[in-house]
Amino acid sequence: MNKLNFKFSIVEEDVIFVKTLVRMAKNINIPNINLIIDTYSNGQEFLLSETHKSEYPHIIVINNQLSMRSGVEVTQILRQEENADRFYIILLSRGMSDDEIVHAFHNGIDNYRLRPFNLNVFKAFLERTIERLGEFK
């Protein structure tokens, strides 16, 4: 049986944090799902890579405070693409006001995580999200 390819991109400047998330993501083992993990240090690099042009379902974990293109800016661009439903965007932040979070949701993010967050819970959440998104493909 063919495995479903699933993209998982991390857009973040903190190298150690990225390595930790990559290692966590490598431990995700869901039958029939092939997780393709990529990392980018800022929003501009992510957009230039054109990885988002892929037709695979795509989970993007993105920091809102990046030196080039914030998480919300990237989200706005992604949501204008055709077939933008394939993106599941998780915005990370060290602190945003309620109004800013509402604004981010209105612009198309699917989930929000305030740092610091629980890594174990985050992994379980990702596993369930991938399973659910995989069911519709």
């Binding site: 150690i16 390595k19 740092r115 967050f117």
Partner: protein, 345 residues
């Protein structure tokens, strides 16, 4: 003429030497910084899996994780900072604390005795962040004679974490020198038992301390705190009453509406505004909203109209006000939010 020429040549030579020395100095500094970054990067790439296993999977410590030079030590600190600041898992924080208590103590102990103020403050910050209780005696020694206000404050933060039983005595001694901002930081991190102690002795806090304590209560209100805030509404001080009402509005716990309702008729518009904020979250009788929306102050009318526009029941009340109120300002506020508000419940 010859003498002037010789002097001129000498000045040129000295200037050239100074410029060359500067170039050499900055060249060496640049090389050292670059080397330092390379070594830090190499260490992180070499050991990141080991650190993940140690901190997340709770594996035993591997000697390959130990540092061989000061740059690798900096790399370890960067790793610990990243994990501490990004993840809340108790097991990760326990592992970091265990590692720091057994292997970083000696180095930090020396740094705490440094003559350089910045080195001492940065080390205190690490002691707090990595929860290094093995340095508690050194911390107590420093607390006997803090060398600056910043150092004193940092020591208090450490006390709240690793010496909570001694925190309050030290806090009482220094509280008159603390700013409202510093109080807020302290009150946000103190454990529950100290929180109760501060609450019991609220009257003995400085004014800044009282304001900060009320503000922090609103951020994570529980029933005991909500009850205490209701008592503070009897205060003779306007600022205490306003902040207490604000904290109640943020926490959204109102145990006795009767204590809050009289503030609808307060002469202080900020108190009426806070009541409007409270009843934007907690449902009240229609009459309360009608009175608030006919308030003489724009902020109060605006607040209550906005709050009502977010719920279906609230919008029914706004429509009723638009139809029946004789107060044109109330009608305008109702219309404005009925047109642009979005129902969320």
């Amino acid at each position: 003429m010859t003498l002037i020429f010789q002097l001129f040549i000498l000045i040129i030579i000295i200037s050239s030497l100074v410029i060359i020395s500067f170039f050499i100095y900055f060249g060496i500094r640049y090389y050292q910084t670059r080397q330092s970054k390379v070594q830090i990067k190499q260490y992180i790439n070499r050991t990141d899996d080991l650190w993940f296993d140690y901190l997340v999977n709770q594996s035993s410590f591997n000697n390959e994780q130990l540092w061989n030079n000061s740059n690798e030590f900096k790399a370890i600190e960067e790793i610990l900072f990243s994990y501490t600041n990004n993840f809340s898992d108790e097991c990760i924080h326990n592992q970091i604390s265990q590692f720091a208590n057994s292997l970083l103590t000696e180095k930090y102990r020396k740094q705490l005795k440094s003559r350089d103020k910045n080195v001492r403050i940065n080390t205190l910050y690490r002691v707090h962040l990595f929860n290094i209780s093995a340095l508690s005696e050194d911390i107590q020694e420093m607390m006997r004679k803090p060398k600056s206000d910043t150092e004193h404050f940092q020591l208090l933060l450490i006390y709240a974490k690793i010496l909570p039983e001694n925190f309050y005595d030290e806090f009482e001694k220094v509280q008159l020198n603390l700013s409202e901002f510093q109080f807020k930081i302290l009150f946000a991190v103190i454990p529950k038992e100290i929180h109760m102690k501060v609450l019991d002795s609220f009257e003995s806090l400085s004014v800044e301390g009282q304001y900060a304590f009320i503000d922090v209560l609103g951020k994570s209100l529980d029933y005991a705190d909500a009850e205490y805030l209701l008592k503070l509404l009897d205060s003779h001080e306007i600022e205490i009453r306003i902040r207490s009402l604000k904290a109640l509005s943020e926490g959204g716990i109102i145990l006795d509406e009767e204590k809050v309702l009289p503030f609808i008729d307060s002469e202080v518009w900020e108190e009426r505004l806070m009541v409007a904020k409270i009843f934007s979250k907690v449902e009240a009788e229609e009459l309360v909203y009608k009175k608030l929306i006919e308030d003489s102050n724009w902020w109060v009318r605006n607040e209550v109209a906005q709050g009502l526009s977010l719920t279906r029941n609230g919008r029914v009340i706004l429509e009723e006000i638009m139809r029946s109120s004789k107060d044109q300002y109330a009608v305008d506020a109702s219309r404005k939010y009925l047109l642009k508000g979005e129902v969320i419940s």
